[in-house]
Assembly symmetry: C2
Homo-oligomer: 365 residues x 2
């Protein structure tokens, strides 16, 4: 067992309770990671994240590279210090945002030429550059630069995309190994930044297998399954995860990127997924959609106008302890910025609460 991933318990179904040892924080897994795109989990102050127990959050390399710039963040001591977040951070590779946000994308074997969605300026990301940017940001976990296969895609397209992803994975890892000591907070006495590979392969089981096996040979610190939740039916998401998980080493963390709904994250955690992230809880919150133990609540609805119950009677989060549905509805109706803050805090606390219960049930096996 790797010292950096300490397996505590495992079920017959594959679900694992473990501890991920990172430079800034030990993270209890399975874990859901709130997304902090631009160095902030949208509308949620850092102390609120701490209060409801977030141990690790995401930063988006593409966004932070463009603004305020990774070199500026490096000069200021890295992303942890810049955003005053002392716990763990993971940065994505930028690959997904280049794919989903940028304009005039041109992909070659060398990397991706693209135009910023902010000002149209021209930029180039190679695996080496993505790793350099991530080292400058200095998260606890960096991701290999990959190409996200769109859905639906032909087999030929998925194969070509996979070839790129595998080549880029090797280049990402080699560059990471040569430069990871350059993180702004480097200290030989603490454990190092880690680098995860990303399994792609579209919706082709054999390509997924091929990719997983190849990445495992490369010996990453952990493995992500990417290119899911891109429009495919949920059964297919599930099938791809089930195909890949058994191929990944037992003693390394497994991360499914960009999922999902509350029932999904619970299901995947019970299958053996250790880490997940998704913008859904915060994005839904900004659109007045709350996830609760009683199902989804569109807090804008008229029926909540004088409902003095907490958003979720079974929830112990700071929002449910203090505020009523009627008040949250009023904030939404009145266009008040506090609506996004309180709704986001509840949704994230609800997601983290699911993972906490899953961890508990896995530990009791």
């Amino acid at each position: 067992m790797s010292q950096l991933f300490q397996l505590i318990a495992q079920t017959a179904a594959g679900g694992r309770r473990a501890r991920l040892v990172l430079p800034h924080q030990n993270v209890e897994t399975p874990v859901f990671m709130p997304v902090g795109t631009q160095g902030t989990v949208k509308a949620v102050p850092q102390d609120a994240l701490e209060t409801f127990g977030a141990e690790i959050i995401l930063g988006n390399t593409y966004h932070l590279y463009l603004r305020p710039g990774h070199e500026a963040i490096r000069r200021m001591g890295g992303l942890h210090r810049f955003m005053s977040w002392p716990r763990a951070l993971l940065t994505d590779s930028g690959g997904f945002q280049v794919y989903s946000l940028s304009q005039l994308r041109k992909v070659t074997d060398d990397g991706v030429q693209f135009r910023s969605h902010l000002d149209g300026s021209s930029h180039f990301f190679s695996p080496e550059h993505s790793i350099d940017v991530q080292i400058a940001l200095g998260a606890d976990i960096a991701m290999a630069f990959d190409e996200c296969t769109e859905y639906p895609a032909t087999r030929t397209r998925a194969e070509e995309s996979l070839r790129l992803t595998m080549t880029w994975a090797a280049r990402s890892l080699a560059h990471f190994r040569a430069h990871s000591h350059e993180v702004p907070w480097f200290d030989p006495r603490v454990c190092c930044m880690q680098c995860f590979g990303i399994v792609q392969g579209g919706m082709c089981r054999d390509l997924r297998r091929q990719c997983a096996e190849r990445l495992v040979e490369m010996d990453f610190d952990g493995y992500a399954i990417g290119g899911l939740s891109v429009g495919e039916p949920r059964e297919l998401t599930m099938e791809m995860i089930a195909e890949v998980l058994p191929l990944l080493p037992r003693d390394k963390p497994r991360y499914v990127m960009g999922v999902g709904y509350p029932d999904e994250i619970e299901q995947y955690a019970r299958m053996g997924v250790d880490m997940m992230d998704c913008v859904l809880p915060t994005r839904a919150a900004r659109h007045a959609l709350l996830f609760t133990s009683e199902g989804r609540v569109n807090i804008k609805n008229r029926q909540y106008a004088e409902d003095q119950n907490p958003p979720d009677p079974a929830c112990d989060c700071p929002v449910c302890r203090r505020y009523s549905r009627a008040y949250l509805r009023h904030l939404v109706q009145a266009g008040e910025p506090l609506a996004a803050t309180l709704n986001s805090i509840h949704n994230l606390a609800f997601y983290l609460g699911i993972m906490q219960r899953v961890r508990q049930s896995l530990a009791e096996v």
Copy 2:
């Protein structure tokens, strides 16, 4: 000395250190009151207000009457409970917003007919109705319904406006005395809701004097000076305050409405003003303007891009203890909602810090 306003110290210049005893909270004065227009201090969670020491905040009768409606708030136990704010609340009379926000305003001796700025619907506010709405909201302090004299105004216009304000003050107070026990939280064992009169009179010293004397005869629980900060030069604001203060009873709180800049609130407090409110600290915060011990800081400026100092090195607020100028600038540049939250918390904490220092210096006299 009234038991509800306990004078602790007074300077030769008139500045007073006192304690205002209200049903939900004892408030140390001089005090600056954050404005919570729609049942929320814009972008600031209630627990943050508590953390930096807000003892009393405002609610706006006009806004809450229109949305979610005072009857709904009454049914839910009053504004304190609705917004989960256990400390003191003051509601204005709605007069100023009717004057500044509504359309097609028609003023008669009876009251004001106006159209909602939200949906154009027609409404009527009389002194009695304003008090009824404020009792339904159930703040700790209600304000008499007044007519705010615009600036500049002719003497004839100021006289006519003043006549209305004085008539309405008497009707407000009579109605308040007959109905204040109808507040949702009424409890004969605790002290009652209070009602303050508002001194108007435009920029005419004699009209201001006349109004103050007349209101003092009516025996309100406290006295506000309204119709200031409506576009007049600051010397004139000052002159009107200086004219009115000596006419107000020593044993009742004095409130100047809608002021001001940091140096203004300090100056007025040292002259003997006990209470002030203003949207400036929160509104400026949403436009990236910070008030600091080093003066105004437009945090958007390029010069702060890599400035790792706190927004105000002399400030001990939760924002200055945790975040850098560079981070706040980034949040503003990136259009992140956290910018409004953090900037507002700092500005309000800065305003409250000024009042705290003034209180301390007054107590040491």
